[in-house]
Point group: D2
Chain length 261, copies 4
């Protein structure tokens, strides 16, 4: 299939705040095809958002919102029992805020990927994916929702159809997978793949074959539209370079998800 | 002129936050034609914004953003020496956030009116009006910028032209004016007009004749597109009712500024 | 026993923030003997704290810290999975902040009672009570920790001994109790007692007999040092007056917990 | 005089926040004698405060509060027209918060030095120094207030006497001085001294002779109790090492201000 020769690389960026600098955005943005930009709740501030949108534009990278919980002190990584209505309002707010910066630069938003605890909450409770999908459908149905590729693919596709939006399934280059296609919990040993070559090979296998070797050594089907990579530190950036090299030398195109979904 | 028979009434609403309730929005929104909705910086939160947009929609009231300085503790009333770039980013962020709630309800934003210290800073320094106008032009040039009607009308009109946006000049029903058309400072005695009948008559005079009696008793020209009224307390709401009655009985139409500007 | 003729009445106060007013502090503070003052995380700000300490002092009411989770938007009512170390630091911070206002007024803090979700989290997980007790022991071992009177009394007393602090057991005037002495969940019908006379009688029974009628009609032992009352609205204040009247007419003294524990 | 052989070195530390790391605290704290620890308003959070107090204790460094304006987004560097009452409440709150962390570690606070815009506001308006001094006197009169050494020394000493607190006069190692003993504005060329050797010599001259060479080349009297140094970046830390070496080789003792004031 054609899809096997194209993939998106996404990364969380724009996570600085005020005087505080976080992440190597200048280095990682030229290497990716879609940018998940923090929107001021768990990280990011209006000035950072503006600069990050400009940087993404400069490199032809798809601009996406990366909304989080209102918990700057905890970087949006702590579960909070906000109601679904509250979550939907937080997402609406943050999408809108980023959309305005994109508009100022003559861009439109490409995608939305929830951050940290919000992402994990949605992975654990599909009604949260549904609530977010509803917000996208209501706000701007051209927006793509980035979700975790895994065992509930059909259910998530159905949600996309219900709200008239596209869904992008995401693969984690540096994470181990259970035999059912879900992520191995970070609390388990071997959850994170530290070898750059293995990580790059896994990405290639997902792209070319739609398959991943699970934790128990078996091969499982897992197709993905976008691969999550990181730019927190020099080693993470080195991994992204490795993945790009592997993909390019295998004739895989790297492109913003919006161009092929 | 036709314009003398139509006026907009605007009020700051959506200023509640979390558990905290502020203002009699349910009472004042049915009485006005344009709502300035707080956007989460000086007041308001995503849930409040959602409810307030819905309330405005229900009553056919024009929806506008009321962006403020990032100072919830001071309700955006304290001057902060943010740079113009920072101010522009704050405005962009807040306009975008509200725009998304409007979109969810199938509405488009009508106008933008800065709040509190930000408004006063712009009144004192025209480069801030200009920066805000630039943001509107860049984000969505259908947005109307609400400014203080006063001696620098020509300059503000020129700014509107430069950035391709409409300017709405605002009159304060309960404030005294200097002979040059500027507001009497709140620190001076007599700055606030407390008599409801006088306030209503002043509004009518501005609408019908484009004139106001200044502090020293003289009549000065002052034309306005919108009148700022308040809904903080029952007395303020009573004044709005009084103004409406006066206008209606004089055959003045009350309509959202976007319908006639 | 002597203790049966003395009780403390505590209430959450100082929950205003900036321009936002919450609660009838001026009315309820004269009626209680211990004030749980918000410390700026879920509610309250430095100016409010200052005013509230002064008001408590004026009425001879014991001053206590009412620390919450860092969630102003959710009024500290939403569970967050902060680590115990984070919770301990949040408590330390907020106790210290209030202590300084007390010092300015020549007072010392009497007690600490966690707010909202933090209180509920501790009720569900005793290690949180223990962490808070440790903070009190380390910061100022004269501080009394207010906990929910219930089935785990022995365990909580042991924690008090371990960290060298006093524990005050709290009874809720308006809440139903399970046969094991725990609170009936708010999700169950009949969880809240709305009849003022019944509520006042229940308080008197706890004070005089150390007993409460549980949900199933049986009488269970439950001794308390302090009764939680509310000042959110006029009806709540009316209930406090009712309780006071009942106690006074039965010769029960109402006094700050620190005077008799 | 004996005083010529002893000096304190102070630095702003504990300015990280949540996931955000700022400053080389681990490197600079062993080199200084007094630590100005951020208190959660412009920077710092409860976990950071706890760690920073522990680090200061480990190195025998005097612990001080570094309160700022409530402006995390602007790092407390932006002037805000808060009232004096508000400022006093903010200072009280932050001093108290840090004091509790010190107490947990068995320490007492040594000093208070306002941060950024708050410091500058006090330098420009002596009533702010007076308000802060009043807070110290009221909260804990053992606290030393760190102020800018300059032309208004007498006035500041009088304020110290009035409120029963000690005043520490501070010298900036890397800043040029006007002939009247005030700092050369950062907007002027030559305001910052970049040569490490010159900076170290200036410190030595102030300590040994109570004199500084002003901007116009003349020698002026300026005596100081503490020297402000920085730990933001490796170069700043190198300067602190240089200053220490110069002082040590000239037999000047470096000690927390509280030990000799």
């Amino acid at each position: 299939m054609e899809r096997q020769n194209i993939i998106d690389l996404n990364s969380d960026v724009g996570e600085s705040f005020g005087i505080y600098k976080l992440g190597l955005d200048e280095e990682v943005i030229p290497l990716i095809s879609s940018a998940n930009i923090a929107c001021g709740y768990h990280a990011g501030d209006p000035n950072v958002m503006k600069r990050t949108v400009a940087l993404a534009k400069e490199h032809g990278v798809g601009v996406g919102a990366h909304p989080g919980l209102p918990d700057l002190m905890g970087f949006g990584r702590r579960y909070m029992d906000a109601t679904l209505e509250e979550i939907k309002s937080y997402i609406t707010y943050q999408i809108g805020a980023l959309q305005a910066f994109a508009a100022v630069d003559g861009l439109t938003l490409q995608h939305v990927k929830p951050h940290g605890a919000l992402y994990n909450m949605a992975v654990q409770k599909v009604s949260i994916w549904e609530g977010i999908a509803e917000v996208l459908g209501d706000t701007n149905s051209d927006l793509i929702l980035v979700v975790l590729a895994g065992p509930n693919r059909r259910e998530l596709e159905a949600i996309g159809s219900r709200y008239g939006i596209r869904i992008a399934f995401e693969f984690f280059a540096d994470r181990a997978y259970n035999p059912d296609g879900s992520l191995v919990s970070r609390r388990e040993e071997g959850a994170v793949i530290r070898d750059h070559n293995i990580a790059a090979e896994r990405v290639l296998k997902v792209v070319k074959e739609g398959k991943v070797i699970s934790k128990d050594g078996g091969e499982i089907g897992l197709s993905a539209d976008t691969v999550c990579v990181h730019g927190d530190n020099p080693e993470a950036v080195a991994l992204v370079k490795n993945i790009r090299k592997e993909l390019v030398s295998s004739n895989v195109d790297i492109a913003p998800m919006g161009t092929f979904l």
